[in-house]
């Protein structure tokens, strides 16, 4: 069963030094942004002043280690550009004239505009726009559904290309809320636990875990595993640091991941060393999958991907060894072929018997993360809904509401432009700088479409291009140091960190947290409610904790203990811990891992994985390749930023000052591009100006770009020059996979030339 462990002899939540300095223990989420890792912090405060931020040695996973984003938190906290008070727009939208107002006036205006829109256009004309990864993720759904009563939750990331496609595969094929590599995060003895062993091989696919800490995982645990003997296999068009330390680096042509995954699957089956007992007992549709894989040999894949067939056969021999594991990242979501990549990849780990064993792929239990659709069986898909509601994009992409409670991102842009199937008139942009090149593609089109809305309220820490260009009201958000919250890994579906965000500083100006704003608006809109959940932050957070299996802790208790570890059992499928009916097996229709997917079949998708050539590659579009012979991939992560954040933190800009395009040194030389020169990356959709970094780590015709850039120092005129470096203008909208997932962030044609 699930258990919560506390560290014995941990320092108290607060310690007072002789000189009156208080040292508070807390945990980081955001802002400043991060992916819910919950790294432990010690915050030194004297006379109400933040003195310094250090790591907390008592945090069981990070043990004091801390990245530069938290190490510069004092600079972030006291930054003079922080938004201190609520403000309203005076002058035209986008003119950047603001006037300080009170919270009362801000709330009064929001409530008044809300009622106006509901009356004229219906409740679903009210929307909440959500970003990615920040703590606000916990409150998007409650704010939209619980406070406003609207179903228009918008996460405008083209193809929902972040986590959700992977989760669709995990849910439908594996019947798990989330799977990821096991780094003993829930075990109090960690790597010394006698039941744990390090993976022999780790397949890192489309992820740079050291920098991205994705999905609540502590990235540098990968280095800990390397020190314990885990050997790496990296799949990435670019050789990152981990690839240079890998046994094998499969440097595939961008966008061809599904071909490679299918070929590895074929090679694994051909070894005849996969786990036949596990397949027999726990997998459904192996013969069909094997037949499909056989059509995708390593020799076939070599021609498509550029990866030598001999390497594919060699890694198959590695992955049949137990335990082996996989660290699978965002790059597979950012591809219209996404479902098939995930399907083929996780099938490899299923048939090798690496699921839910120590050192293998840990299977998550159902998540309590708000915003995820409840698991539905395929038999329920065709049932009539309780009420007539046509969610945005649901007709075109019925898979979306089965996995997430948001609109379909790309269809939402159509809706903003056409008002169909219903108009969106009111937007609450919650902690999301969507116009910077993090999530939306064709951001200038989104900008034009959103300029016409009746009312836009945005909440954030700093003025940013999205707020400057669109908002009518701005609400100032507090940092993790000024408010309370909880951090659990992927909604407590995975083992590991279990932490409190503790308020240790008085609020800077009049800032409030996302949750506090959510509760305030709830009380304004539902004055007669006596629902105990919405009473205050303590009761809200405690009620979230109450839903976590085996936690048995209230928020005030967690705040006192600061950090714990959440332990889940291995081999849950043998013990009846994955299914709501308590029976052994997996939480799928057949009760087995569905190598042949009944769910995908029910959605009129191929029940088996297949390969789809990227739509705009040189193979698909030789006409386009004449003028745009190179391939661009974007979204490269840096230690110094989280999506579009941190660009105003001078210490971090000193480390990584400019939006960077990485180019193979030979390609650059041929084009007269030198280190540090400004270059344009261009294709038929648009162009962006970035700073060149020459490196041998990329294939000659591939360029890799940072995302999320804008220039706080350029000021609010021209929206901080966000269009100048906006790489997402080079990616088309609504070019998704058949089910509506994935897009071309990693494989668009382009050319590149000197800017001056």
């Amino acid at each position: 069963m699930a258990k919560l462990h506390w560290k014995e002899n941990a320092a108290p939540a607060v310690t007072e030094l002789e000189d009156g300095t208080k040292i508070y223990r807390t945990n980081a989420w955001s802002p400043p942004g991060c992916h819910a890792v919950g790294c432990g912090l010690r915050i030194f405060v004297k006379d109400g002043e933040l003195q310094k931020v250090e790591g907390d040695p008592d945090q069981p996973i990070t043990k004091g280690r801390l990245c530069v984003r938290c190490l510069t938190m004092k600079e972030y906290f006291y930054h003079p550009d922080r938004i201190k008070y609520p403000m309203k727009r005076v002058g035209k939208r986008g003119e950047n004239k603001w006037q300080r107002i009170t919270w009362d006036e801000a709330y009064d205006t929001i409530v008044e505009k809300y009622h106006e829109c509901v009356e004229k256009w219906g409740v679903n004309s009210v929307s909440v726009f959500a970003g990615t990864g920040r703590e606000a993720c916990r409150y998007h759904t409650p704010l939209c559904l619980g406070v406003f009563g609207s179903k228009t939750i918008v996460h405008p990331n083209s193809g929902w290309s972040c986590l959700v496609p992977r989760q669709a595969v995990m849910t439908w094929i594996l019947g798990s809320a989330y799977v990821d590599f096991d780094y003993a995060a829930g075990l109090p003895l960690r790597y010394d636990d006698p039941n744990w062993e390090p993976p022999k091989y780790m397949l890192i696919w489309g992820r740079d875990p050291l920098r991205c800490n994705a999905d609540g995982m502590w990235g540098h645990s990968m280095v800990e595993l390397m020190k314990l003997g885990t050997k790496l296999i990296t799949v990435d068009p670019r050789a990152n640091w981990l690839a240079t330390r890998s046994e094998y680096h499969l440097q595939l042509r961008p966008g061809t991941d599904a071909a490679l995954a299918l070929a590895i699957l074929d090679a694994v089956i051909k070894t005849d060393k996969y786990d036949k007992e596990f397949v027999e007992k726990w997998c459904y549709g192996f013969d069909e999958l094997a037949e499909r894989a056989a059509q995708h040999s390593p020799e076939w894949a070599e021609k498509i991907t550029g990866v030598p067939a001999e390497d594919i056969y060699a890694i198959a021999e590695c992955l049949v060894q137990k335990p082996s594991s996989a660290c699978v990242g965002l790059a597979i979501d950012q591809n219209p072929n996404t479902i098939q990549i995930g399907h083929a990849l996780y099938s490899i780990f299923a048939i090798t018997g690496n699921m839910d064993i120590p050192g293998g792929l840990f299977m998550g239990q159902p998540s309590i993360f708000p915003g995820r659709a409840q698991d539905k069986k395929s038999s329920e898909i065709h049932e009539e809904p309780e009420e007539e509601f046509e969610g945005i994009g649901y007709k075109e992409f019925p898979a979306i509401p089965l996995i997430v409670n948001t609109t379909h991102p790309d269809c939402t842009l159509d809706t903003l432009e056409t008002g169909r199937p219903y108009p969106i008139k009111f937007a609450f942009i919650q902690s999301s700088n969507l116009l910077a090149s993090s999530i939306v593609v064709q951001p200038s089109r989104w900008y034009e479409a959103m300029r016409k809305l009746e009312f836009i309220v945005a909440s954030d820490i700093f003025m940013n291009p999205t707020i400057a260009g669109l908002a009518d009201i701005v609400l100032p958000i507090s940092t993790s140091l000024e408010h309370e919250g909880i951090i659990t890994r992927t909604g407590a579906s995975q083992p590991g960190q279990f932490s409190a965000i503790v308020k240790v500083m008085e609020n800077y100006g009049e800032t409030k947290s996302d949750l506090e704003i959510c509760l305030d608006l709830y009380h304004r809109l539902h004055p007669d409610s006596d629902d105990p959940r919405w009473k205050d932050t303590d009761s809200y957070l405690s009620s979230d904790l109450a839903r976590i299996n085996g936690a048995n802790v209230t928020f005030p208790e967690l705040r006192e203990r600061v950090s714990g570890q959440y332990e889940l059992e291995y081999r849950k499928y043998e013990k009846g811990l994955l299914r709501p009916d308590g029976e052994p097996g997996f939480n799928t229709i057949t009760g087995k891992i569905e190598l042949f997917s009944t769910m995908l079949g029910a959605l009129d998708e191929d029940p088996l994985p297949y390969y789809q050539e990227p739509k705009f590659s040189a193979v698909s579009r030789p006409d386009m390749a004449k003028d745009y012979p190179m391939t661009m991939t974007t979204g490269a992560r840096r230690f110094t930023s989280f999506h579009s954040e941190h660009r105003q933190i001078k210490t971090l800009r000193e480390i990584h000052p400019w939006p960077t395009v990485e180019i193979n040194s030979k390609t650059a030389e041929a084009k007269g591009i030198t280190e540090g020169s400004w270059v344009y990356v261009e294709n038929p959709w648009g162009r962006a100006k970035l700073n060149a970094h020459l490196t041998p780590t990329l294939i000659e015709d591939v360029v890799s770009m940072d995302h999320g850039w804008w220039y706080p120092e350029k000021g609010e005129e021209d929206m901080f020059d966000v269009w100048d470096c906006n790489i997402n203008n080079l990616i088309p909208n609504k070019e998704n996979g058949k089910l509506g997932f994935g897009t071309h962030f990693k494989c668009m044609p382009c050319t590149i030339y000197r800017a001056e």
Binding site: L66, C67, H220, E224, W241, T651, E654, P696
Partner: protein
């Protein structure tokens, strides 16, 4: 008197810059000044066309005092404590040399 230094594991230093910023915090160093600076060796592909030369090497500068105040309180130097890859160690040269020999490759010792 015993001499102290820093041992850096260049095999596992990932170039995260935490040591640089942790040191700036500890010593109140302004922009443009560093108490320890991460240098990059490579990346370039070796002549076997398979393996890489790619190392990060944090080098203490003139400002490094091995965090004498922290050490006096029984703590680790700030760079060592915050290092994400746990790729830095503080100790006497005897201790560090023994560790370096045990490691056997891709390590360096600095005396600031």
């Amino acid at each position: 008197m015993k001499q102290y230094g820093l041992m850096i594991d260049n095999e596992y230093c990932t170039g995260c810059h935490s040591c640089e910023v942790a040191c700036k915090n500890e010593h109140n160093l302004p922009l443009g000044q560093w108490g320890i600076k991460v240098l990059e060796l490579g990346p370039w592909k070796l002549m076997d066309d398979k393996h890489w030369e790619y190392r990060y090497i944090p080098v203490p500068t003139t400002y490094c005092d091995l965090c004498k105040d922290r050490v006096a309180e029984g703590q680790k130097p700030s760079c060592v404590f915050h290092c994400l890859a746990s790729a830095m160690e503080y100790g006497t040269l005897e201790e560090l040399t023994a560790k370096m020999v045990a490691k056997g490759k891709m390590a360096s010792i600095f005396i600031p």
